[in-house]
């Protein structure tokens, strides 16, 4: 360390310490001293000389450590245009476009250029929900980088072998695994969960209990009843909610009995000659106190709704409408009609909707939709082909945003042309009802047939703030459609 003397003198000052030249610089040091221009002059020259001497004498270090090279990539590289757009979307932070490009690459089994992998993996760390698709688009290079970088290694943990996921995977992956198992074999999933739920933390218990919602059956009742005593309030509430809606469970049977006490179908004389069935609701038929310990509120929290009606609504929301119809010795259609004709239909309708959504009853959903009940969740209860007829009902300022959430899927399915046109018309009138990201996502779902229509909107005269805003969005959507066209 030839610079130690210089360092010492530099820190202390030449008043306190004067360095000696290192042996190799003794001659030149003597010549500097001989100039006799003062200690400071001598020090500054010697420092310059020593540090230059040290710099010139630097030699490379031998490093034998070698990183394993990246294995060969079996997948095709993304096309030139796609790669260029990926780069652009990354640098421009265009999240919507980036995710579309990643989706398309993965769909075609193409990989992004390896130089983009670090930026993509950083993105995956930010957005864990889409991390797997991002890691996939990085291909072998991405996995190789994850194996070398501690920060990215967590992304590889998501790629553990199937048989080890339950033991070693991340919470997200374990939940996915349990969901898959539950869909294939509900009993096996139940057993797996029952065996290990005691060792899980509260967040995991809640996440895994949520999975029981899939193909919920009476076999789950015992575990759910155990979970009513869980330490976590959230887990308890979730277990109770599942037991409430589990048809045939003790709690649900209790609810049905109470509903049957309150509701009956009776016949009334009509115009003196015919008989007509009507729905009778007995609000005074109050239940035993035990029911109020199962998450049912005793006192109405809704303005203008009596306690009895409020109680009935809560219970109806937990009972499959088809089961109720059978219990009342009626048919689905008859019961729906009677309910909709009842004077309290408007009050009960949200609870019925909740029940229809929960139990996925298509007949009830269709009838409610025909009765102009505008709850987008009802569409989920219908077969895909039957939904189109009802979309128009949701083309209002209030419902466009939820309708788009319902329509815009992660597979970028093209919207029907007529619907797309109607949506654009609605948005052109009230452009602020969705946000910019909504427009970008919509653009990637638009069929090519509406391109000219969108261009027409862009060129439309009009100078008020809403028209200007929509024009800007239309331009942005056209850009997204151009990109889509470029890579499709």
């Amino acid at each position: 360390m030839i610079e130690q003397e210089i360092l010492k003198a530099g820190l202390l000052g030449t008043d306190k310490y004067m360095p000696l030249p290192v042996p190799a610089l003794e001659d030149i040091g003597a010549r500097i001293t001989a100039q006799n221009d003062g200690k400071e002059d001598q020090f500054l020259k010697l420092a310059a000389l020593t540090l230059l001497y040290r710099e010139c004498g630097a030699t490379p270090q031998e490093v034998t450590a070698t990183l394993p090279p990246c294995p060969g990539e079996p997948a095709q590289p993304a096309g030139k245009r796609t790669a260029m757009l990926l780069e652009q979307a990354l640098s421009g932070k265009e999240e919507v476009l980036l995710h579309y490009l990643i989706f398309r690459c993965n769909q075609r089994n193409e990989v992004a250029p390896s130089a983009l992998a670090p930026a993509l993996l950083d993105k995956a760390l930010e957005r864990r929900k889409t991390a797997r698709s991002i890691v996939q688009v990085c291909g072998v290079a991405g996995q190789w980088l994850c194996s070398l970088n501690e920060d990215w290694a967590v992304l590889l943990a998501d790629a553990v072998p199937e048989e080890d996921i339950w033991e070693t995977g991340s919470l997200e992956r374990r939940k996915e695994y349990l969901t898959g198992l539950r869909q294939r074999d509900p009993q096996a999933a139940l057993q797996l969960l029952a065996a290990s739920i005691g060792q899980e933390n509260a967040a995991a218990r809640q996440a895994f209990t949520e999975v029981l919602r899939i193909r919920l059956s009476l076999q789950d009742e015992s575990l759910l009843e155990q979970l009513l005593k869980d330490k976590s309030q959230k887990v308890k509430e979730l277990a109770l909610s599942l037991l409430q809606q589990l048809q045939g469970s003790a709690i649900n049977r209790h609810y049905l009995d109470q509903v049957l006490r309150m509701v009956r179908i009776k016949e009334e004389r009509h115009l003196l000659i015919t008989k007509k069935k009507v729905l009778a609701i007995d609000e005074a038929a109050m239940p035993d106190e035990a029911i109020f310990k199962t998450g049912i509120a005793k006192v109405s929290s809704e303005k203008g709704v009596s306690d009895g009606l409020y109680l009935l609504g809560q219970l109806l929301a937990c009972i499959d409408p088809a089961v109720l119809a059978a219990a009342l010795h009626s048919t689905d259609q008859e019961l729906i009609n009677l309910l909709l004709l009842h004077k309290e239909a408007a009050t009960l309708q949200p609870y019925l909707t909740e029940s229809v959504v929960r139990f996925g009853n298509a007949a009830w959903a269709r009838t409610l939709l025909q009765a102009k009940v505008a709850d987008i969740r009802l569409l989920d209860a219908l077969p895909a082909g039957d939904r189109v007829a009802f979309y128009e009902a949701f083309l209002t300022a209030q419902h466009v945003a939820p309708l788009l959430d319902h329509l815009l899927d992660d597979d970028y399915t093209s919207l029907p042309t007529t619907l797309a046109g109607a949506l654009l018309d609605q948005l052109s009138r009230q452009p602020y009802i969705i946000q910019q990201q909504g427009y970008q996502r919509l653009a990637l779902h638009l069929p090519p047939e509406v391109y000219d229509m969108l261009k027409g909107h862009q060129d439309k005269p009009g100078d008020d703030y809403q028209a200007r805003y929509f024009k800007a969005q239309a331009m942005e959507m056209l850009r997204q459609m151009d990109f889509k066209k470029m890579i499709d």
């Binding site: 008043d15 450590a65 090279p69 421009g92 850009r479 151009d482």
Partner: protein, 436 residues
């Protein structure tokens, strides 16, 4: 035109302009899009009634737009070029240029000619001599004060400098500006780049202080030095050489590749460093440009582009800084430069260069068939003999380089500066990765 998106976006003056340019790279946003072998032009509908006319000179990349933006290039220029790269088929190929474009291109040509004429202008030698003498007197007085200041600093020691980092050299820097020794003022400003919060600042500071002292000492004995070294010292002190003089020296004609472009900003002054490599001359050249405020660049370079150019070097001990005398942009080609030598030779070249010019601050190098690796928490670039240079690049840059090279041998261009090596560009298999 074979530019990539990345290369075009690198021309953007800032990130918002780059992003806005990307937004405008849409067919729908342009009412007119046309291309000719000399230029690109288009009309972009802005918020007003009249669309903006945007033009791009394809021969020597330059932009012109009728929008009121003070950024250069503006978002319209970037958007038009990006659109052309992404969707060339939506552009109409025109055999002739419209009047506005032709006029702009001819004005650009006329300006180039005017520059050449300026070189021919006679100077009043007597007045010039008087000015030189007056300035020298001021500079010498400044140097004298600087030497006193340096001696004062080392007399009391540098231990307490971190307690007043900004005030430490403020007055003396201002004094050097007053003394018209801008080079020395700049050398003093470099002290503020030292990281006083990390171990090692002591040697870095001593090295800076002693080097500045050495400059003043060498200048004091300039009669004993070769003319190139005197020229080098004059530049370091602050005598600038007129571009006209430099341009009158014998240029080096060659095919040059733009290996790296870096932009740094200090006190509202942007410094652009463009490193070139001459394929036949095997020489490096550094184009150094300074821009104040919203000043527009004279040339727009694109990393990886090739140009046929005559380059004049500033005189000095080991000249690197240069000016473009005349040039013609070629296309963007994959970088393919082979330079003999391994890591040991790079160290030897650095030592050799320092022995010729001890004030050398940057030394460019190329290493072929090197491999990136990590060892003891540091990043290295090593040759086949396992001789390695430690990398000064950021961790993010190192990961990007590793991802590009995939752990396999590749070539790299880098800069040795302040005893550290930073890689700027990697290339392999006809692909390039511009790191900085």
């Amino acid at each position: 035109m074979q530019y990539s998106t990345e290369q075009i976006l690198q021309m953007a003056p800032d990130t918002p302009a780059a992003k806005a340019g990307q937004q405008l790279a849409s067919n729908a946003k342009w009412l007119l899009k046309a291309v000719n072998e000399k230029a690109l032009w288009g009309d972009c509908q802005g918020s007003g009634k009249t669309p903006y006319r945007t033009m791009v000179d394809l021969d020597n990349i330059a932009f012109k737009c009728s929008c009121p933006s003070r950024k250069f290039p503006c978002k319209h220029g970037l958007g038009l070029m990006l659109l052309y790269v992404q969707q060339p088929d939506v552009f109409t190929v025109e055999a002739s240029l419209p009047d506005t474009v032709a006029e702009w291109l001819s004005r650009r040509g006329a300006r180039e000619a005017a520059k050449d004429e300026k070189v021919q202008k006679p100077v009043d030698e007597a007045a010039q001599e008087k000015r030189i003498q007056a300035r020298e007197k001021k500079v010498l007085a400044g140097i004298e004060e600087l030497r006193y200041w340096l001696k004062d600093v080392v007399r009391t020691g540098i231990m307490n400098v971190p307690q007043d980092i900004y005030g430490f050299n403020q007055s003396i820097t201002a004094r050097m500006v007053d003394a018209q020794a801008g080079g020395l003022a700049n050398q003093l400003r470099q002290i503020n780049r030292i990281d006083f919060f990390h171990e090692g600042w002591q040697l870095a500071l001593l090295k800076r202080l002693s080097k500045i002292y050495l400059i003043t000492e060498a200048f004091d004995h300039k009669e004993q030095l070769p003319p190139e070294m005197v020229q080098e010292l004059q530049t370091l002190i602050g005598w600038t050489q007129s571009k006209e003089e430099v341009l009158q020296t014998m240029p080096v004609e060659d095919t040059w590749t733009v290996l790296s472009i870096t932009l740094s900003e200090e006190e509202q002054l942007r410094t652009e460093r463009v490193w070139l490599y001459g394929h036949n001359s095997k020489r490096y050249a550094l184009l150094l440009q300074f821009y104040a405020g919203n000043q527009s660049p004279e040339h727009l370079w694109v990393k990886g582009m090739q140009l046929q150019a005559a380059i004049a070097y500033f005189p000095g001990a080991a000249p690197l800084r240069a000016l473009i005398k005349s040039h013609q942009s070629l296309s963007v080609q994959p970088i393919d430069i082979e330079v003999a030598g391994e890591v040991t030779q790079i160290y030897e070249q650095v030592s050799g260069a320092l022995s010729v010019n001890p004030f050398l601050t940057q030394f460019p190098f190329i290493l072929n068939r090197g491999t990136l690796t990590r060892h003891e928490g540091h990043w290295w670039f090593k040759d086949a003999a396992n001789q390695a240079i430690p990398l000064a690049n950021t961790t993010g840059e190192c990961w990007r380089m590793l991802a590009f090279s995939q752990g396999k041998p590749c070539s790299a261009f880098g800069i040795y500066e302040e005893e550290r090596f930073a890689l700027h560009t990697l290339w392999s298999d006809h692909k390039s990765c511009f790191v900085s």
